[in-house]
């Protein structure tokens, strides 16, 4: 689709040349400066939902053979370089990162997310970020129809033990005992932990207790 809403054929994207990557990181850095100029209170780096950072992280989309592809350490490199660039602008305590380890949105995918995302968390920990924000495995930026991780534990169970800062999780929260009206997002009773009955099922994320 074009910017004015006209439907056209998809074009086949090409991989970034290794030499182009610093320029993309500069774009994130400049956008962080722009956010400062606009008066925001901080910045969240969106590394979920099949966006560029997740394309580097997950093996379904990252077929690179340079230092940004292959091993887990290599695939996490782009996330870390973007994060450090944004931290240079804002300071770590005003920067958050959003990830969707079990996400399948927009053609992403990782057969075994925990080793990859454990490494990412371990790399992010020493930076002292404001928070880390996970989309719950039970949910998806693409809607539930694509989700096949209903039996995976909550991101709070998976990542609270290893992330040292404030943890936010989002997705699949709903009102107690009330069905969701949207048929695409069927309500599942008993799925939400008792202290997490929220006013809206997906529009709000719940911050779990800070442990620092």
């Amino acid at each position: 689709m074009t910017a004015d809403g006209k439907a056209v054929l998809y074009e086949t994207p090409r991989a970034l040349e290794t030499s182009e990557i610093p320029g993309v990181i500069d774009a994130y850095r400049q956008a962080a400066k722009n956010a400062l100029q606009a008066g925001f209170d901080g910045v969240e780096i969106h590394g979920a939902n099949g966006y560029l950072i997740e394309q580097f992280l997950q093996s379904h989309t990252n077929l690179r053979t340079d230092q940004y592809g292959g091993s887990i350490a290599n695939r996490v490199r782009f996330l870390m370089e973007v994060t450090k660039a944004v931290v240079e602008v804002w300071g770590a305590d005003r920067v958050g990162v959003r990830l969707s380890p079990y996400g399948v949105a927009n053609g992403s995918g990782e057969p075994d997310p925990m080793p990859l995302y454990t490494h990412a968390v371990e790399q992010l920990n020493p930076l002292g970020l404001a928070y880390l924000h996970f989309i719950e495995p039970r949910s998806s930026g693409a809607g539930r129809a694509e989700v096949n991780h209903q039996n995976v534990p909550s991101a709070m169970v998976l990542f609270r033990p290893i992330w040292k800062g404030v943890l936010i999780t989002a997705g699949g929260f709903h009102r107690r005992g009330r069905g969701c009206r949207d048929r695409r997002w069927p309500c599942r009773r008993g799925r939400v932990r008792p202290h997490l009955h929220l006013q809206s099922r997906t529009c709000r994320a719940a911050c779990s207790a800070a442990s620092r």
């Binding site: 689709m1 074009t2 910017a3 004015d4 998809y10 086949t12 994207p13 090409r14 991989a15 970034l16 993309v24 774009a27 994130y28 400049q30 956008a31 962080a32 722009n34 956010a35 100029q37 606009a38 008066g39 925001f40 209170d41 901080g42 910045v43 969240e44 780096i45 969106h46 939902n49 099949g50 966006y51 560029l52 950072i53 379904h60 989309t61 990252n62 077929l63 690179r64 940004y68 592809g69 305590d93 005003r94 958050g96 959003r98 927009n106 053609g107 404001a130 924000h133 936010i168 997705g171 202290h195 009955h197 006013q199 529009c203 709000r204 994320a205 719940a206 911050c207 779990s208 800070a210």
Partner: protein, 135 residues
Amino acid sequence: MNYPSLFSPLKVGPYQLKHRLALAPLTRMRAAKPSLAPRPLNAEYYAQRATPGGLLIAEASPVMETGFGSPGVPGIYTEQQIAGWREVVDAVHARGGDHLPAALACRARLAFLVPARRRAAGRAIGGADRRPEDR
């Protein structure tokens, strides 16, 4: 209060939140076209969701022209867009004590809506060549 933890304060970075409900970044596709700058509608949207001492995370905003994945998503790379975001931020802060981080995103590879006149940079880019079965 039934949920003591949810409605207790939390320090996030330098900011003292009064509760632990946050607005997740939600793609609304309501920016002005063709500038892709936030407009009064966007300011109204965020101000409606503001609560004292709350945390609203702005929708994922492309950091570059080739980083779009959906029409009408606000960008954060031109002066006009920055000015639009300033209106949004001011509207939220006017509601009292809310904290609003911007969400920076690049959706390259999903960037199928780059207008033809901006195609000079070439094809949409991605982290890697996508697999044939991807759409």
